[in-house]
């Protein structure tokens, strides 16, 4: 597999990288962990004239906490996210998801920012980060802006990122109160991407009823989608198994489910319900432990 000719750039500051993007416009592609872009280039499905590698730009990776927000650099690898003590203790659902991405090699190279920018409709991070109400920080030569993960991704392999923009960080607000999160995934037997992935973050009130929940699904639609009917159905309920099951049954309601080689739309809607039920159950039991 031999990629088409391209020019390779290795900037050492964000400003320099932005300058290169400005200069080459549509012709340029950022390179992060290379796990999605390089396969496309080898197949010549992507033929960027200029590749701007972010590897040497300092400050783009690592996990830190500041003012109730966990800040994860865009270039942080899946492995680094999953093994961060901060993530493991405060956001166990993220560690859980990180460990299920692809294989060891992919986790050691692929990055959280690259995954969001790539916006594969079966990727794991979008669901987990949507359930956690995360946003991303984006830089361009005109300044910086924050966008919610749910608004970042608009369709298969499409985001609101403009050609001159760089995703800098992922910002996850630390949940407060009695909360628990869980991620449940049925991996594709070939790629390990999610046939379905359900991320659930559940909050309980002092009486043990659901005071709020955020549930997001990947793999079943053209982009990450919130299971709004499930969230509604859970609200104010005691989360016993029967209540969870009947709420989760509505997981795919209102979602345009895609059929693919793994099964019919009906089957995938069923998977959404089953995996939502499993995720909510575990999220609740984590919340109850708090």
């Amino acid at each position: 597999m031999y990629a088409a000719p391209f020019e390779y750039h290795l900037p050492t500051t964000v400003a320099e990288a932005l300058g290169l993007l400005e200069k080459f416009g549509d012709e340029a592609k950022l390179l992060s962990g290379s796990q999605s872009l390089v396969p496309l280039m080898k197949l010549r499905l992507a033929t960027p004239g200029h590749v701007v590698d972010l590897r040497k730009v300092p400050g783009l990776s690592g996990v830190t906490e500041s003012g109730g927000t966990v800040v994860i650099g865009a270039m942080t690898t899946h492995y680094e996210v999953g093994s961060s003590p901060l993530v493991r203790t405060k956001l166990p659902m993220m560690a859980e998801a990180a460990g299920q991405i692809g294989d060891t090699q992919v986790r050691n190279l692929g990055t959280i920012g690259g995954s969001l920018a790539h916006a594969d409709p079966s990727a794991d991070w979008p669901a987990v980060l949507a359930a956690l109400d995360a946003s991303v920080r984006i830089a361009s030569s005109r300044g910086e802006r924050n966008v919610k993960v749910e608004e970042l991704i608009v369709g298969p392999l499409t985001t609101v990122l403009a050609p001159g923009e760089i995703l800098l960080q992922v910002r996850v607000p630390l949940p407060a109160g009695r909360y628990g999160g869980a991620y449940e995934k049925l991996p594709h037997p070939a790629s390990r991407f999610a046939i379905v992935g359900a991320a659930a973050e559940v909050f309980l009130d002092p009486g043990g009823k659901v005071s709020n929940s955020r549930i997001a699904l990947t793999g079943i639609a053209s982009k990450v989608t919130r299971a709004g009917y499930v969230e509604q159905a859970l609200l104010g309920k005691a989360p016993d198994p029967a209540a969870i099951k009947s709420a989760a049954a509505r997981a795919a309601q209102g979602i345009e489910v895609r059929a693919d080689l793994t099964g019919s739309a009906e089957y995938k809607a069923n998977l959404a319900a089953v995996y939502t039920e499993r995720a909510v159950k575990r999220a609740v039991s984590r919340a109850l432990e708090r």
Partner: protein
């Protein structure tokens, strides 16, 4: 000296292979090498119009671009077929498509350039005018009236109609049956995916007219013979084919492919070496695929479970062209296996080989035998269900008893030996069947669905004998060669016609030689894969390296021993009859203190200063072993699964395999082969699936959607063996390379159907993906 036979010594080739010191075709560097890239048809079926190479030729570094027409004009002949059947249609298969492209990925032109990048860049710029035609990718559809024709000279898309067995006797058996169990089976298409993609490096020497081809081949002599004598018209003695380290094949590297023919031709045109290495995408599109049958099968039974007859009608999808051994796979390697381990008195099997607009199909690990075993073992379970019998009991009822060997089946094979109940007993002992049925019962009450599947398989392998194969249509012999050369210092080089591409010959073959010649194993080298060094041999496939290849080596060692003893007796001034060969020494029985070492004897063989009168100098022996029959491994595999009711997901819970492979040279290597085979067979049952859309586009053409088995999805496999040595070869060994694949697919499928039986589900076609199982379960209650 320690006996090596039966010892699990570590693979001698592994330190080299696992530390990156292997020498694969793509690793070879020779000066002035050029690189080839192929322009491939994106369409399954299209007329080829004008091919415009003007833009491509302008890419810096491009040396030449050849099309199918160029090759034909240059005298290149079609790639032949190595196994012919009566009235078979063999349409011309040129290395580059000439008038029409007939499958997605078929090579249409080749670009040769100074670098692989330039070659690929230029290939992208070759403009081919395609007139796209309707395509038919499915074998059953290809037989329908009005289906798009693949070849003008194969009306109705039929390549051959073949049958075996006695139709009348089978009809009679069905007429008197108490029960007839019928099922249609789809044995879906697979893609081999050896870890090393195919590669070749062709180097023509303009000075001498010699040509060397390094190629990923399982049978370098066959490659040379066919390319030289049939495709390119090169005198055979001017061509040398070398297959250095080869990273797996599973059958896919037996065949002569268009790419290496084009590379040899281009090298002769340019007087430069030409190299090509497939990328994974090309491997998916252009390596011969496996399986792909539509089958209607029915079994006639007496009320007590005794099988009276079996009728099988199969449509075998052969792809767009006949690959080298394609006709043999769904016929002689399939229909002949339908007796399995059972006494079925009447069998009739009809096979229609059809052309479709897909990648050619040929032998893939097991080749025909997994297809036969799958339908037979599924029918055993379906029949047991119908008759209310236990799947174990129906098998016992029909096993050929151990005192009935040699046993003639109604489908041509003569089984030499076997003890099928013995293997089943041992497997049941390990498994504890009663306890499982109790656990299954309990689990069902909790809404958990466990199932057990049996496969009491039989395989025919060690492909031989030449005369029989010839009578059945093989265009080649099926013996194996060995030349054992003892050097003056007593070190030994073994030149074998077998080829190792993962099997561990450098270890197992050396174990046999070390024992026979009583030399340290480190003094023995195994050399294979080079027509310039090795006598004409047939290579490795059909689990033949042990039963045929190692047996040929054994023959040579006997000749060496005989001559060595003569020399030793002469040096000891003793009668040859009184000399023994023990502990690495020759001495007169009873007086081991006066001895000659293997070194002494070897040295004298070459010094020739003092040899028995009339004895030629040297110590070297050539043998060709052509066994009298196949060998017949057999065994019992038991698989336990749990199926999730709400998703259809199949969890593997337990896997027990008891195999009878005859005598085992290296148990660890054999365990590894069985493990790998089972992984592949499980994978067909649950995961792997080559799918074409209705236009003939391969939609599972990459590792992103074609699911190979992964270590973490498999479970520990519990292995055991029984040992019934075969009388067919002097070592008593049977083949071990394919049993796992042949046995396991049916065991898994039977287990899943057993798990689903509370829902009244009898059969689901493979692969048994969660989606398919869930659809079958929809609306059904336990």
């Amino acid at each position: 000296m320690e006996t090596m036979f039966g010892k699990s010594i570590k693979r001698r080739e592994d330190p080299r292979l696992v530390t990156g010191k292997g020498n694969f075709v793509d690793d070879l560097k020779i000066p002035f090498t050029t690189h080839a890239a192929f322009v491939r048809s994106p369409h399954a079926h299209a007329k080829i119009g004008k091919i415009d190479t003007a833009a491509a030729r302008k890419v810096p570094g491009v040396l030449a671009i050849y099309t199918g027409k160029d090759l034909v004009a240059g005298g290149v002949k079609p790639i032949p077929v190595g196994w012919l059947l009566p009235n078979i249609k063999v349409p011309a298969h040129y290395p580059l498509a000439v008038d029409k492209a007939r499958h997605m990925g078929e090579p249409v032109a080749v670009v040769v350039a100074e670098t692989p990048y330039a070659a690929r860049d230029a290939a992208e710029l070759v403009e081919v005018d395609y007139d796209v035609l309707p395509a038919v990718p499915d074998g059953a559809d290809a037989l329908k009236r009005g289906a798009p024709p693949v070849h003008d000279d194969a009306p109705g898309n039929v390549s051959f109609k073949w049958s075996i067995g006695d139709a009348k006797a089978t009809d009679a058996a069905f007429a008197k049956a108490d029960k007839v169990v019928k099922q249609s089976f789809r044995n879906h298409r697979l893609i081999p995916n050896a870890i090393e993609p195919r590669a070749c490096l062709a180097s023509a020497q303009p000075g001498t007219g010699d040509i060397t081809l390094w190629v990923t081949s399982q049978n370098p002599h066959v490659h040379r013979l066919i390319m030289a004598a049939f495709v390119l018209g090169i005198p055979e003695h001017k061509m040398r084919v070398i297959s250095p380290d080869v990273g797996g094949g599973f059958g896919s590297k037996i065949f002569i492919y268009p790419e290496e023919c084009a590379a040899v031709w281009a090298s002769r045109q340019l007087s430069r070496p030409v190299k090509w290495t497939a990328d994974r995408r090309e491997a998916f599109l252009a390596d011969a695929h496996g399986r792909d049958h539509h089958t209607e099968a029915e079994m006639a039974l007496a009320a007590d479970g005794k099988i009276l007859g079996l009728r099988v009608k199969t449509v075998a999808n052969l792809g767009a062209y006949l690959s080298l051994f394609a006709p043999a796979v769904p016929t002689y390697l399939y229909g002949t296996l339908l007796a399995g381990a059972y006494t079925t008195p009447a069998i009739h099997c009809e096979v229609t080989g059809v052309f479709t607009h897909t990648t050619p199909v040929d032998a893939y690990r097991g080749a025909g035998r997994p297809e036969a075993t799958y339908l037979l073992e599924r029918l055993m379970d379906l029949s047991a269900k119908e008759l209310g019998m236990d799947p174990v009991d129906i098998r016992r009822k029909n096993f050929i008893p151990p005192d009935k060997f040699p046993y003639q089946t109604p489908v041509a094979l003569l089984y030499d030996s076997g003890n099928y109940a013995g293997a089943l007993d041992k497997a049941l002992q390990i498994f504890d069947y009663k306890a499982f049925r109790r656990e299954q019962e309990q689990a069902r009450k909790q809404g958990r669905y466990l199932g057990v599947g049996f496969s009491t398989y039989l395989e025919a392998c060690g492909l031989a004998p030449s005369q029989v194969a010839g009578a059945l249509g093989a265009q080649a012999g099926l013996y194996e060669s060995a030349n054992v050369r003892v050097h003056p210092t007593g070190k030994v080089s073994v030149f074998t016609g077998s080829h190792s591409h993962g099997q561990g010959h450098e270890t197992t073959f050396a174990q046999v030689v070390a024992d026979e010649l009583q030399v340290p194993i480190d003094d023995v080298d195994i050399i294979h894969g080079d027509t310039g060094q090795v006598p004409f041999g047939m290579g490795s496939y059909g689990s033949r390296s042990g039963p045929v290849g190692a047996a040929a080596i054994y023959m040579s060692t006997q000749k060496i021993k005989e001559k060595a003893k003569k020399i030793a007796a002469h040096l000891l001034e003793a009668n040859e009859k009184d000399v023994t060969h023990e502990g690495g020494k020759f001495f007169v029985k009873g007086s081991p203190d006066r001895s000659k070492s293997f070194f002494d004897v070897s040295l004298m063989a070459y010094l020739a200063h003092n040899l028995p009168k009339g004895l030629e100098p040297g110590l070297e022996a050539l043998s060709f072993f052509d066994p009298g029959n196949f060998v017949f491994p057999f065994g019992t595999h038991i698989c336990v699964v749990e199926v999730e009711r709400d998703t259809g997901y199949v969890h593997l819970r337990r896997y027990v395999a008891v195999d009878d492979l005859g005598r085992v040279i290296n148990p660890m290597i054999v365990d590894g082969m069985v493990h790998g085979g089972i992984a592949q067979g499980v994978s067909q049952a649950l995961w792997e699936h080559a799918e074409y859309d209705e236009n003939g586009q391969l939609i599972t053409g990459s590792m992103m959607n074609y699911a190979l088995p992964k270590a973490d999805e498999l479970i520990p496999i519990e292995l055991a063996r029984t040992e019934t040595p075969t009388p067919v070869n002097p070592l008593g060994v049977k083949g071990a390379g394919e049993t796992g694949t042949i046995a396991s697919t049916a065991a898994v499928a039977n287990a899943v159907m057993d798990a689903l039986s509370p829902f009244g589900i009898k059969h689901i076609d493979m692969p048994l993906t969660p989606g398919r199982i869930w659809e079958a379960l929809k609306g059904k209650g336990a």
